[in-house]
């Protein structure tokens, strides 16, 4: 698989000459007469290339200025400058600006080819190195700030908050849709702060049966209940002076909410079946996909606990609201799974990149990650197409949900549904589309929330 080369020169003749040379060697070239346009396309992930060859002297921004701007973005694509100026100072300036190499006119094509190939080789080595570091980190079970990929304002704000709050012991409440990376943010807070030497303990409150959750959190004495054959140290103690991450805190029952509130207030716990109080040193970070203010209004969540947890709220936007992060995330996952599966040379086609940006990603980053892993393993060619990542039959997940699908053909084939039945089915459908978020559902259906709640209550009976 040959590389993709971006060529920048305001002289169309030279541009065509360069393109002709590389295309004849089966490289793919992208031509720009304006470095500013090339910079914009790269910044917006519209251009995906492996190396850039640019003229030194350009009208809007010079080749040097372009190089500096690329490096200031942290972009690692190697840049080769072509200059007519043979002075040493120019060469030094080019290298200081971050250029990989420079070529002096008249263009010596074999020399340029060698320079391009060396740049590509170096980029591959650096990428392999970075991927290995990521794999090592994955294998060691650690994450770092580099594990959070994104340049969108929403994610940058979340990361900035995480960085600032990491130095304190304040309770943090992370909210966001499922799959947005709430646990990664929690880990980031842990790793960046002084507690990183201590454990990071995570528990999903929705995945543990209620009758076992209390024991998990607080521990128990031997014989304290049927099945308690040994004493158990709970997670509050296990976390020591580290972090205890309580995911899906919105699913905690009211009884445990009351106990959690007491722990947060008094900073001590009692194991089930014991009278002794034990101090806790862990920092509590919680996360939820629910709207806890709404849950408070509905009396499903304690207001006093909500205020105690919500000292530092961090909201992670859904992936569809941070489209500029989709390609960097996709590239990250491609590299990650390539390393883990020992696969080399796979890349995304331009159509695929477009499809990635357009897809709604209702499952957010988790869905994107799963899709990339699947595509990498199943794609038969090196070039990953949009169908590999987003199979046609899954392009709209609403079509796979038949139980609540709003299908006119069913009305004509069976008995006619009553108006009430039709409305209920549509409400259920809308709720599913919005992943159970009632506020958004009411807004989409253009009814007030009270009406929606009333309807849902009626549907239960």
């Amino acid at each position: 698989m040959k590389a993709r080369i971006a060529l920048i020169d305001d002289d169309r003749d030279t541009l065509k000459l360069l393109s002709n040379f590389f295309e004849n060697l089966d490289y793919t070239t992208f031509l720009y007469e304006d470095a500013l346009k090339a910079f914009e396309d790269i910044s917006n992930a519209k251009l995906n290339c492996d190396v850039i060859v640019t003229d030194f002297s350009l009208p809007n921004i010079s080749g040097i200025e372009f190089t500096k701007r690329m490096k200031s973005l942290g972009n690692q694509i190697p840049i080769i400058l072509i200059t007519a100026n043979r002075k040493v100072e120019v060469a030094v300036e080019a290298i200081h600006a971050g250029a990989y190499d420079f070529v002096v006119k008249p263009i010596h094509f074999p020399q340029l080819l060698v320079s391009v190939e060396r740049a590509l080789h170096l980029a591959r080595v650096e990428q392999d190195n970075q991927t290995l570091k990521t794999v090592v980190k994955l294998q060691e079970g650690t994450t770092s700030l580099e594990g959070v990929i994104g340049k969108s304002p929403g994610i940058k704000h979340a990361l900035d908050l995480a960085r600032r709050v990491s130095q304190s012991s304040s309770n943090v409440l992370i909210s966001g849709e499922s799959g947005t990376g709430k646990e990664i943010i929690a880990k980031t807070i842990h790793i960046l702060g002084p507690r990183k030497k201590f454990p990071f303990i995570a528990i999903n409150c929705a995945s543990i049966p209620e009758n076992l959750l209390e024991s998990e959190l607080f521990g128990h004495a031997k014989g304290s209940f049927t099945g308690a054959s040994e004493k158990k140290v709970g997670l509050f103690e296990e976390a020591d002076a580290g972090t205890l991450f309580l995911d899906e805190i919105g699913d905690l029952n009211l009884s445990l909410q009351a106990k959690l509130l007491r722990v947060l207030q008094e900073r001590k716990i009692k194991r089930i079946g014991e009278n002794q109080y034990r101090p806790i040193r862990a920092r509590i970070v919680c996360a939820t996909h629910k709207n806890l203010r709404e849950e408070v209004e509905k009396k499903n969540f304690r207001e006093d606990l909500f205020f105690r947890l919500n000292v530092i709220p961090i909201w992670i936007p859904p992936l569809r609201e941070r489209k500029e992060d989709i390609i960097p995330l996709a590239e990250f996952f491609l590299n990650k799974f390539s390393a883990l599966n020992n696969i080399r040379g796979k890349f995304f086609s331009n159509d695929c990149l477009e499809a990635l940006i357009k897809h709604p990603w209702k499952g957010n980053v988790r869905e994107l990650e799963n899709s990339i892993e699947r595509a990498l393993v199943l794609a038969e060619k090196d070039r990953i197409e949009s169908d590999d990542v987003i199979p046609i039959d899954q392009a709209d997940t609403r079509e796979t949900s038949t139980e609540n699908a709003f299908d006119f053909s069913r009305i004509s084939q069976s008995r006619l549904l009553s108006v009430e039945e039709l409305i209920n089915k549509y409400i259920s459908y809308a709720l599913e589309i919005n992943q159970g978020v009632k506020e958004k559902t009411a807004k989409d259906l253009q009814i007030d929330r009270k009406t929606l709640y009333r309807r849902l209550k009626e549907m239960e009976h």
């Binding site: 003749d13 030279t14 040379f21 006119k105 008249p106």
Partner: protein, 95 residues
């Protein structure tokens, strides 16, 4: 030294045709005093001629660019004249 044998013949033909067109525009630019255009042509020819294997055009491009920057009309006329002659000669003898 450029590797002119790397350049396909048809690209050389197109290149010279575009230079002939530039020559015609340069003559108009002298009449209108468009030094900016003349400087641009000189700069481009200076930069790309040798890459296409037309070494003789490069010093003419330098002369044109310099003259246009200095707004030296006499030197500009001389450079444009040399430019036209050289391009026509190339078309006649090499292509």
């Amino acid at each position: 030294m450029s590797f002119s044998n790397q350049v396909p013949h048809e690209m050389k033909v197109v290149y010279i045709q575009r230079r002939l067109s530039d020559f015609a525009e340069c003559s108009k630019a002298i009449a209108t005093g468009d030094y900016s255009f003349l400087e641009k042509v000189g700069h481009q020819v200076k930069g790309n001629a040798e890459s296409f294997g037309f070494d003789a055009l490069s010093p003419i491009g330098i002369a044109l660019e310099t003259a246009a920057k200095e707004k030296n009309i006499e030197e500009i006329k001389k450079a444009v004249h040399d430019f036209g002659t050289a391009v026509a000669n190339i078309q006649k003898t090499e292509l």
